[in-house]
């Protein structure tokens, strides 16, 4: 039963989702269309399952970070900040829900987000510029034929994309456009088609119960 029930649920739900994408009109005898069946009966379950999963995950987060603090592990201060923020946000949001008339509390709720979290995130993404440079340096070292082709393509694309490239030679932007539109797009589309087919077959294997590793009950 431990194997059969999850596999049966997977098969039935997958079939409903699949048919809801390609069919129209009511199911004979049931008086409801496949897309409605999905919206009415499957979709709410997804919310319920997600809520339970979030609860489990939050418990894990609290346990791991509480342990970090109690054992004074390295960088435990960040665990303290995380749990502190969690408590403050939770308490604040609860207060706003209980006192909807307190507009000052509601408007100040986003202060932490706007003035602490948002600048931190912007800073984090700004690091990407330097990361792109250092990763490109490693990738573009002409160690073999592939890396040399990559290096030559990168130089041409950079020259075509910057205003100075067009000033040096008017054909650089044309070459850049060709590199992006033809060889790059060809490769990307081949990858996409392969991935789409692979994705479909993976779904079919899961639907038929051939893939069941995610259920923690072994392979086929």
């Amino acid at each position: 039963m431990r194997k059969e029930v999850p596999l049966l649920i997977t098969f039935v739900v997958a079939l409903i989702v699949m048919l809801s994408q390609v069919t129209t009109g009511n199911i004979p005898g049931l008086g409801v269309a496949m897309p409605d069946l999905f919206e009415r009966y499957i979709s709410p379950w997804m919310t319920v399952v997600s809520a339970f999963s979030l609860c489990l995950a939050s418990v894990n987060l609290i346990v791991v970070h509480s342990r970090n603090i109690s054992r004074k592990q390295s960088e435990w201060i960040y665990s303290l900040i995380l749990l502190g923020t969690l408590v403050i946000y939770g308490a604040w949001c609860t207060y706003i829900q209980i006192n909807p008339d307190n507009t000052a509390a509601a408007s100040n709720y986003s202060l932490i987000y706007n003035y602490i979290l948002s600048p931190l995130m912007t800073g984090q993404w700004a690091c990407l510029a330097f990361y792109v440079a250092s990763a490109s340096y490693r990738a573009f070292r002409a160690r073999n034929l592939e890396a040399t082709v990559l290096l030559a393509s990168a130089i041409l694309v950079m020259l075509g994309a910057t205003p100075v490239g067009g000033v040096i030679w008017s054909k650089f932007p044309v070459i850049q456009r060709w590199l992006i539109d033809i060889p790059n797009m060809t490769g990307q589309r081949a990858l996409l088609i392969g991935a789409a087919v692979g994705s479909f077959v993976a779904c079919l294997r899961t639907m038929l119960g051939i893939e069941r590793g995610h259920l923690g009950i072994g392979g086929s």
């Binding site: 699949m18 994408q21 390609v22 069919t23 129209t24 009109g25 009511n26 199911i27 004979p28 269309a33 399952v49 997600s50 999963s53 979030l54 489990l56 995950a57 894990n60 987060l61 346990v63 791991v64 342990r67 960088e75 960040y78 995130m121 984090q124 993404w125 990407l128 990361y131 792109v132 250092s134 990763a135 490109s136 490693r138 990738a139 990307q188 990858l191 996409l192 088609i193 392969g194 991935a195 087919v197 692979g198 994705s199 077959v201 993976a202 779904c203 079919l204 294997r205 899961t206 038929l208 051939i210 893939e211 590793g213 995610h214 259920l215 923690g216 009950i217 072994g218 392979g219 086929s220």
Partner: protein, 260 residues
């Protein structure tokens, strides 16, 4: 109930290719034909990754990506969980310290169960710890920051990134590269492939993500599915070629057929 207009060809194609894949899976299981997959260096390197971490006495990190199991990213996440199952087996065998970081709460129970069952199957239930699988954050930026923090804090030796990735791919991979962490990235996210190629030691791309489970387990049924996948690709190539020729000749019969 009828097939929605515009989906007629898609519906019958779905039935036909499903039947084809089921046939190849069953035929492979019964030994009617033998399926072999070419060596994939990135997947071969997983054991090296775990072995390296074991020798160094430091943890091996695994991430099943940023995808969920209830959206279009589900196949990527499920494929990543198949790989997690294999990595758990290897980590349990080597007694390596193992860390799994999770972004989506829905993936957390599945990953926990996969790792727990992996340790039980390897007769290493005592080695399993409840903090091996860690939920970090469902926010993309916070997840990246949390994992990078964990790289520093736990002095991770190897990292395996499998599944769907978005803009934070380079943040994770380049941070790990700077720390000298050995990395294997396995993804079908086309836009992130260049970043992984630049920053990781091994990169497994595109459909290889979905073939990884079959490759690592050498399971006949799964290998049959991969063969079916190749037959579908031949059909797609055929349709593209015929469509290109017919369109060049001024006929739009293929477009009409596809949008029936």
């Amino acid at each position: 109930m009828t097939i929605a207009p515009g989906n007629v060809f898609g519906f019958w194609m779905l039935i036909a290719i499903s039947a084809l894949v089921i046939y190849t899976i069953r035929a492979s299981e019964r030994g009617k034909f033998k399926v072999t997959i070419r060596p994939i260096a990135g997947l071969e390197a997983i054991e090296e990754c775990v072995g390296r971490a074991t020798e160094m006495g430091r943890p091996v990190h695994f991430s099943p990506g940023l995808g969920d199991i209830v959206t279009t990213s589900a196949p990527d996440t499920l494929a990543a969980l198949q790989i997690l199952s294999y990595v758990t087996d290897v980590a349990a065998k080597y007694d390596a310290r193992f860390l799994v970081t999770i972004r989506m709460p829905n993936v957390y129970p599945l990953a926990t169960e996969t790792v727990r069952q992996g340790y039980i199957a390897a007769n290493k239930a005592d080695s399993y710890r409840d903090n091996m699988v860690r939920y970090v954050s469902s926010d993309q930026d916070a997840y990246a920051a949390g994992v990078i923090g964990l790289f520093h804090q736990e002095q991770v030796a190897s990292s395996i990134l499998a599944g769907l990735y978005m803009g934070e791919a380079l943040l994770l991979a380049e941070s790990a590269a700077r720390l000298g962490i050995m990395q294997v990235a396995i993804t079908a996210s086309v836009m992130q492939v260049p970043f992984f190629v630049a920053a990781c030691d091994y990169t497994v791309i595109g459909e290889e993500l979905y073939a990884a489970g079959a490759y690592l387990t050498n399971d006949k049924g799964r290998l049959g599915g991969i063969a079916g996948q190749d037959y579908i690709k031949l059909i797609v190539i055929g349709i593209i070629l015929i469509g290109t020729l017919m369109t060049s000749a001024g006929s739009n019969a293929i477009q009409s057929l596809l949008t029936m």
